[in-house]
C-alpha cells in the first residue's frame, strides 16, 4: 500500500499548524513554507494523476481497516485530476496573494490557505460519505476565515451570510446522511452502491428522500439556481485571491454530484431515476440563463464575475444532467476550463480594484497598468464567454455536441447559445466601460495616484490564462483523457471491487482476539 495518496491531506494538515506555531510573526518564512508546500502538493498531484492515468484505482485504508468498517481514500482518474487542478490553481493563487501582499493584510492567511487545501483535497479523495461531510466542514471552516481575511464591514456582513447559508447546507447534509444510514446501514460509497441496488421496489421511499436531499446539498455547494443566493455577495466581497481559490469550491459540489450519481445512484437504478431530467436539468438551464443575464445586468465588476461563475456552473450541470459518457466528459473538460477562467477573472477584478476608486461599471480615470490589465481581462472574458480561440469555446462545443440527439436538444442548444451571446455582450460592455471609457475622464488633481501592481501578480493571472490556452491546444488529449475518465465512472465495478475486496486487518483475525 503506497502512502502517497494521503499526502495531499496530511501535508497541509502538518504545514498549517507549523506556520501558525513556528512562523507566526514572520511573513517571509510563512511564504517560503506555503510556496514549498504547494509545490510539493503539485508534484504529488502530478504523480498521482500519472499513476491512475492507466485506469488503476489506488486504495488507501486508514489504519489498515478493511472497508466498509474502516475509512478509505480512493484515487481514480476523476479524483486525481481534480486534485491536480486544485494544486495548479492554488499555486497561481498563492503567487498572486504574495505578490499583491494580500497575505499580510490580516493574520494567518497561509495557515488557513493550507487548511482549505486540506479540506478540498480530502473531499476529492475520500471514499466515504461521512468523511466527505467532515472534509466539507474542514474546507468550509477554513473558507470562513479566508472569506473575512483583512476584515471590513461589508466583508463581515457577507461573511455572516456565507457562514449561515453553509451551516444550513451542512445540517441538510447530515439529514441526508442520517436517512442514507437508516436505509442502508453503511456510508462507504462502494458499499452503498452495492446495497442501494438491493433495495426492493416497494421500499424505496427512504432512499429516494436521501438521494434528493443529497442532490440538494451538492446543488447548494455548486450554486445551482435557486440555491445560489450565497454566492454573489460572498464571492464579490471576499479578497480577490480568496475568491479565485473559491472557484474550485463550487466544483467540489459538481464533483460530488458526478461521484455519487454515477456510483451510488446510477441512472439505471430504478428507485432514484428521474431526479436528473426532471429536476436537475431545468434548474441547471435556469442557472446558466440567470448567470449570464446577471453578467449583463451587473453594476459592479465583482458581481459580474460572481454571476459568470453561477452561469458556468449552470453549464457544467446542464452537461452533467444529460448523464451520458460523452456529456460527463464534456462537463469535466468544462470544469477544468471554468475553474481556471473564473479564478483568472477574480484576480483581474482584484487588479482593477487595487487601482480604482470602486468597481462600479462607470467611466473612471484609467487604472494603473491599464493596458496589461485590459489585455488580460479581454483574454479571460473570451475564455469565460466561450469565444474561440480559448478553452471555453472547446468546452461549449463539446457540451453542444454531447447534447446532440439527447432529450430536449433544441432547448439546451437554445439556452447555451443565447446565454453565450448575452455573456459576450455583458463582458464587452463591462470591459469597454472600465478600460476604454477611462480615456474620456480627466484625472482630477486630488485623485489618489495608484501604484502599478507587482509583475508577479500579472504573471499569476497570465499563467492561468496560458493554462486555458494549453487546454485548447491540447484539447484532443485532454478530451480523450476525460472520455477515459467518464468511461471509468460509468463502469464502477472495478472501483467497488477494489474497495470492498482488498483485505485489511479485519479479514485476517488472529488467534486469541
Amino acid at each position: 500500500m503506497s502512502h502517497w495518496i494521503i499526502l495531499p491531506i496530511v501535508l497541509p494538515a502538518m504545514l498549517a499548524p507549523f506556520i501558525v506555531l513556528a512562523a507566526r510573526y514572520h511573513i517571509s518564512i510563512q511564504r517560503v513554507f506555503a510556496v514549498a508546500g504547494v509545490l510539493a502538493q503539485l508534484a504529488i498531484a502530478i504523480g498521482l494523476a500519472v499513476a491512475t492515468s492507466d485506469g488503476t484505482i489506488i486504495l488507501y485504508q486508514l489504519g489498515d481497516w478493511a472497508a466498509p468498517f474502516g475509512i478509505v481514500l480512493v484515487g481514480d482518474r476523476l479524483s486525481t485530476i481534480m486534485v491536480l487542478l486544485t494544486a495548479v490553481l492554488s499555486l497561481f493563487v498563492l503567487i498572486y496573494a504574495i505578490a499583491t501582499e494580500w497575505d499580510s493584510r490580516g493574520a494567518n492567511f497561509h495557515a488557513l490557505f493550507q487548511f482549505q487545501l486540506m479540506g478540498i483535497m480530502g473531499a476529492f479523495l475520500t471514499g466515504d460519505l461521512f468523511n466527505l461531510f467532515v472534509f466539507f466542514e474542514v474546507l468550509l471552516i477554513a473558507s470562513y476565515g479566508l472569506m473575512i481575511h483583512a476584515g471590513g464591514n461589508e466583508r463581515m456582513r457577507a461573511g455572516v451570510q456565507y457562514v449561515l447559508f453553509n451551516l444550513l447546507g451542512s445540517t441538510l447534509f447530515l439529514f441526508a446522511l442520517g436517512s442514507i444510514y437508516a436505509e442502508t446501514g453503511t456510508l462507504n460509497m462502494a458499499d452503498l452502491a452495492h446495497r442501494a441496488a438491493l433495495i426492493g421496489a416497494d421500499a424505496t421511499v427512504g432512499i429516494r428522500v436521501a438521494a434528493v436531499l443529497l442532490l440538494l446539498v451538492f446543488a447548494i455547494k455548486a450554486a445551482l439556481v435557486p440555491l445560489h443566493f450565497w454566492l454573489p455577495s460572498s464571492y464579490a466581497e471576499a479578497p480577490g485571491p480568496v475568491a479565485a481559490l473559491f472557484a474550485i469550491m463550487t466544483k467540489v459540489g459538481a464533483y460530488a454530484i458526478i461521484r455519487v450519481y454515477t456510483m451510488i445512484f446510477p441512472p439505471n437504478l430504478e428507485a432514484t431515476s428521474g431526479s436528473f431530467d426532471v429536476w436537475l436539468q431545468p434548474a441547471a438551464l435556469l442557472s446558466l440563463a440567470l448567470g449570464m443575464v446577471g453578467v449583463l445586468a451587473a453594476k459592479k465588476l465583482d458581481r459580474l464575475v460572481a454571476f459568470a461563475v453561477i452561469g458556468s456552473m449552470g453549464m457544467v450541470l446542464v452537461s452533467i444532467s444529460m448523464f451520458t459518457p460523452t456529456s460527463i466528459a464534456a462537463a469535466l473538460y468544462y470544469i477544468l476550463h471554468s475553474t481556471l477562467a473564473g479564478a483568472a477573472l477574480f484576480l483581474i477584478v482584484d487588479l482593477v480594484k487595487a487601482s480604482r476608486k470602486s468597481l462600479a461599471l462607470t467611466a473612471m480615470p484609467p487604472v494603473a497598468g491599464a493596458a496589461l490589465t485590459a489585455g488580460l481581462f479581454f483574454a479571460a472574458a473570451i475564455a469565460m464567454a466561450g469565444l474561440p480561440p480559448l478553452s471555453g469555446f472547446i468546452g461549449k462545443l463539446l457540451i453542444l455536441d454531447a447534447a446532440f440527439g439527447a432529450g430536449h436538444q433544441g432547448l439546451i442548444w437554445f439556452v447555451i447559445l443565447a446565454s453565450s451571446l448575452v455573456a459576450v455582450v455583458g463582458f464587452g460592455r463591462a470591459g469597454s466601460t472600465v478600460f476604454w471609457k477611462a480615456k474620456s475622464v480627466m484625472l482630477d488633481a486630488d485623485d489618489p495616484v495608484y501604484e502599478r501592481p507587482h509583475v508577479m501578480a500579472y504573471a499569476a493571472v497570465g499563467g492561468l490564462i496560458a493554462l486555458s490556452a494549453t487546454l485548447t491546444v491540447l484539447g484532443g488529449y485532454v478530451y480523450d483523457y476525460m472520455i477515459a475518465t467518464s468511461e471509468q465512472l460509468f463502469d464502477p465495478a472495478p472501483y467497488i471491487s477494489t474497495v470492498l475486496e482488498t483485505p485489511g486487518k479485519l479479514s485476517t483475525p488472529t488467534e486469541g482476539h
Partner: protein
C-alpha cells in the same frame, strides 16, 4: 418512544427553520442551534432506537448500533465549533457596522456608484 423522538426532531426542525427565516443574526443563530440539535437526534435515531442494549456485539440477543453514536459525536463537535465561529463573525459584523441584519442592505445604499 418512537413518537417522542420523531416529534422532538420535527418540533426542533420547525422551530429552527422559523427562527432561521428571521432577519437578525441573534434569532438566526438560535435557529441554527435548534436545527443542529434536531439533526443530532435524527442521526442518533438512524441506527434504530434500542433501550438497554450494549453498543457491542455480545452473546445477548440485542445490541445497539454504535456507529450513529460516533457520527453524532462528530456532528456535535463540528456544529459546536461552527456555532462559535458564526457567533464571533456575527459579533464582528454587528460591532463594525452597528447593524445586525442578515440581508444585504437596501439596494440604493449598496450601489455606491460615485
Amino acid at each position: 418512544m418512537e413518537f417522542l423522538v420523531a416529534s422532538a426532531v420535527g418540533i426542533l426542525t420547525a422551530a429552527g427553520l422559523y427562527l432561521v427565516m428571521r432577519l437578525r443574526t441573534f434569532p438566526v443563530i438560535l435557529g441554527m442551534s435548534l436545527l443542529t440539535y434536531a439533526v443530532n437526534v435524527f442521526l442518533f435515531a438512524s441506527g434504530r432506537l434500542v433501550i438497554g442494549a450494549p453498543p457491542i456485539l455480545t452473546d445477548a440477543e440485542t445490541y445497539t448500533d454504535p456507529l450513529p453514536q460516533a457520527l453524532v459525536l462528530t456532528a456535535i463537535v463540528i456544529s459546536f465549533g461552527m456555532t462559535a465561529v458564526v457567533v464571533m463573525i456575527a459579533l464582528g459584523s454587528y460591532l463594525g457596522s452597528d447593524d445586525d441584519g442578515v440581508n444585504d442592505p437596501a439596494f440604493e445604499k449598496d450601489e455606491d456608484l460615485s
